[in-house]
Amino acid sequence: MKVNYEERANVLQVIFIIIGIIFVIRLFFLQIIDSSYKNSANNNVLRYTTDYPGRGLIYDRNNELMVCNEAAYDLMIIPKDLKKDFDTLSFCSMINIDINDFRTRLDKAKKFSRYKGSVFEAQISKEDYASIQEKMYKYKGFYFRLRTIRKYIKPIAAHVFGYIGEVNQSIIDKDNDKYYKAGDYVGIAGIEKQYEQELRGSKGLKILMADALNRDKGSYKNGEYDIAPVSGSNLYSGLDYALQEYGEKLMENKRGSVVAIDPSTGEILALISVPSYDPNLLVGRTRTKNYKLLQDDPNKPLFNRALKAKYPPGSTFKLINALIGLQERAITFSTTYPCSRGFHYGGLNVGCHEHNSPLDLEGSIIHSCNAYYCKAFGAILNKYKTDRDGYIVWRNYVTKFGFGNKFNSDIPNHSSGFVPKAEYYDKRYGKNGWKWLTVISLAIGQGELGITPLQLANMSAIIANRGYYITPHLIKKIGNKVPNKEYLVKHYTGISKIYFDKVADAMYNVVEGGTGMGGKINGISVCGKTGTAQNPHGKDHSIFVAFAPKDNPKISISVFVENAGFGATWAVPIASLMIEKYLNDTVLRKDLEDRMFKPIP
């Protein structure tokens, strides 16, 4: 057999060249076609860490700081760094968890990543941190990460501020901007929720590098791709922190609410609902536990009465009926109605207390005569072809006062209250089956009416303004700008100023010599109206609405004290003290104050 050597050299060369081509093709696929390796390389070396911004601060109307941030420490774990001889028992006792809890958390962390840090125990306070930090050298695999937590300067206004907490999956899923990641904090209630976007700022990103042993190798490309965090905006509230504190002290040991509004601006000066709680309870690592306790508390401290409780407004509502009657020319200033201890019509009796009779409009307000308003209410509705038509007109006025509607405002989660529509009665009695007498309770603020304390305070502001209101709101400025153009708009009721002047005069006399006499303050002209909300479950609720001074009013207020009986006993002095505190800064009537601090007997 003759061997062709030349050919064999070529065969070998071709084989080698083919191998070379195979390599180049393989490299082409690895390096150019398949882009997954770039990600893998980045995953290897890059460590994305979130740079959390400071949450915006909240100030009161006098620029007093109410809500700030405090350092807290997340205890982080890197499971792979845990040593075999890790002293689990002493570690557990140090951070005060049991051993089963430890295991669950460790498993969770391992599931997340063995190489990357995850939160083992969130928000350890500065004090605990100091004592734990000293012993940390013994526990390889754990380290601290600085976070800030909310600090509420005084233990008050919990319902106003609300609270923040870790985002849950449903928030993450609903978040279209994909901003939230597990472990982030988000406002869950109150201002914290309402102004979440402004308060949170925006998170920054730090890209660090680590080598194969996960040792820090500094920032990636000198921080070229880092994103600096942007701090949240500071909020300036219309709240008067001192007034809020004072009101909460007055309402201590009671149930009820106080809402105070600056009528000229619509800024809420105080928003009190008792029983309340210390907002700092819902901060940090004890939040979940405390929340559960508050939730289970039979006194329902989490329930915001000022915004959500719907009461029949009682006699305070007579002011509305007087104004509607005047505007509708159903009554005049001089219209008088007699009262024989109540309103009697056919088989219907609405009782009244002992007073002079007959009374004119002013007298009816001063003495809070039920008969007068039953008749006036009849006069309003009877003006029209049917009582139903009259009712629709009447209801339209009522809603102009903000009743039965929610405000376009930053007040979180408030109720619209309830003012029945004509259809409501149609359904109940048939389209032509009801007349003014059927709904006569509305004349004296009883019946189906559901009014929130916030709405009643707003009503008081409308009278104070002699005819309009500015939407009540909590935050007047975010940084330098007004949060909502709505807060510059005057909402008119469609009732003439002269009628308001008359009603305001009458309210002044209520305090000077009528049912609200306990509310008199030397040197301040207080206007007010008492009320009693009927309570089928127990003692009636005491109500007082007021504003002061009579001319150029600075504060309008509603006070509800549950189960306190007649308005004058508790609600009047509390409103009066609040007005004194706000206008004079110091309260001189110490005896009255002391009496109010005590619980209702």
């Binding site: 070379g20 690895l30 390096q31 194969a212």
Partner: protein
């Protein structure tokens, strides 16, 4: 007329030799750049730091240069004359290292001299090439004879076994590539084809159950036996082939499960995807592919490879040096390295064919196949085409023994090509 022709040929050869030296120099220098990058540490940026790999490699490069020049200066007959003594000395040192060598990572294959270590196995390939060339080029030797083939095989088998005893499987594997030299010298091409088929079958047996393969072979054999029943001679041949491959398959299975060490098996199984092991045997390959794959078209640039800089690829300055090229110079850089190697190997073969002396020709082939063996195994491993087999990339990888032995290997050939005395 013939004089002119001769002169032209000499000029061409001279040019090719120069090209080899240029490619050699390029590879060594580019290799050093990559060794520097693979060991780069922000805290110590001094280029010449003799406590670090890149610094030490400078010494080795200097030494290699010295050897290269020395070889070009001495009489070219020196190596053909001293082929056998060199072979014997190296074989003895391969035996000695088993007893007095320093154990590194389970292999006892290093002589420790001061702070430098020498690996005689690296020089084994050079010595074997010399001895093989010397033997096959002897005037009375005819490769067609069975005896010649046996003796040539023994020359190769001795270092192969000695290196296998040192637990250095990768280096031992290189000796298998001498079959290409045999092919050039007259071994039947069928043997190469059969070898490839066998390798394919054995590889297949790692993925598919061996009994399925045997059954398939049996069906094919039966078909041929029936089809060719008129040719009795062929029928026996087919049956013989079947019995041989079946027994090979079974014995391979035995070797695979009982002779190979666990870590070898792991590496092979990772390659075939039978085992996913990101932190164990698979780690190197995954990280190596990530390094190369993340390089993109033009790479991340000198000292910019994060896989390289932050030590994600183990053994990066030695066995996985190609990762640095892939990551920092991308497809462009790594393709150029592949092309340079293939060009070098193809040129060595062309040049060998032009040698008048059989010694030079056979030696040239030995050089080509040894470089090729290292090149193929090393790069195929780095790009995930072969299991992890630790052998250096010629001229490129960090390591004195490797650089020196490849330099000597290549320059002895270059010296031969310039030589016109040894015309028989």
């Amino acid at each position: 007329m013939s004089y002119i022709k001769d002169k032209r040929k000499k000029i061409i050869i001279g040019n090719v030799s120069n090209q080899l030296i240029i490619i050699y120099t390029l590879l060594v220098l580019f290799g050093w750049v990559n060794i520097y990058a693979a060991n780069f540490d922000n805290n110590s940026t001094a280029i010449i730091d003799f406590s670090r790999n890149a610094g030490k490699q400078i010494i080795w490069i200097g030494l290699a240069g010295f050897f290269a020049i020395f070889i070009l200066l001495i009489d070219s007959r020196f190596f053909s004359i001293f082929s056998y003594p060199v072979y014997i000395i190296i074989m003895l040192s391969l035996i000695a290292v088993i007893f007095v060598g320093k154990e590194v990572a389970g292999s006892r294959s290093w002589f420790q001299i001061g702070s430098f270590a020498l690996q005689p196995a690296e020089f084994g390939k050079f010595a074997t090439s010399l001895a093989l060339s010397k033997y096959l080029s002897a005037t009375n030797i005819r490769f067609e004879e069975f005896k010649t083939r046996i003796i040539a095989t023994i020359i190769i088998i001795i270092p192969f076994l000695l290196i296998l005893l040192q637990n250095d499987t990768g280096s031992a594997l290189v000796y298998g590539f001498f079959i290409f030299v045999f092919y050039r010298e007259g071994l039947s091409g069928n043997i190469l084809i059969i070898g490839v088929l066998l390798a394919f079958m054995l590889t297949l047996s790692l993925i598919v159950n061996k009994y399925i393969i045997i059954s398939c072979l049996a069906v094919v054999t039966l078909y041929f036996v029936y089809y060719t029943r008129r040719f009795k001679k062929d029928r026996i041949l087919f049956i013989f082939a079947f019995v041989l491959s079946a027994s090979l398959l079974l014995s391979f299975d035995y070797i695979y499960n009982n002779v190979l060490k666990t870590h070898h098996r792991d590496r092979i199984e990772v390659l075939f995807g039978k085992k996913v092991d990101e932190k164990g045997a698979g780690y190197n390959v995954i990280q190596s592919k990530i390094a190369i794959g993340s390089g993109g078209v033009i790479g991340k640039g000198f000292l910019e490879g994060t896989q390289t800089k932050y030590n994600f690829v183990p053994e990066q300055s030695t066995d996985f040096i190609f990762c640095t090229v892939g990551e920092e110079y991308g497809f462009l850089g790594s393709s150029i390295v592949v092309i340079l190697f293939i060009y070098l190997i193809v040129q060595i073969i062309s040049l060998s064919e032009r040698q008048r002396s059989p010694f030079s020709r056979i030696y040239g082939y030995c050089v080509a196949v040894i470089i090729f063996a290292h090149f193929v195994i090393n790069i195929a491993m780095a790009i995930g085409l072969l299991p992890v087999i630790g052998i250096p990339l010629p001229f490129f990888s960090y390591g004195g023994s490797s650089l020196l032995s490849f330099t000597i290997l290549l320059f002895v050939f270059i010296k031969q090509t310039g030589d016109k005395h040894e015309i028989i």
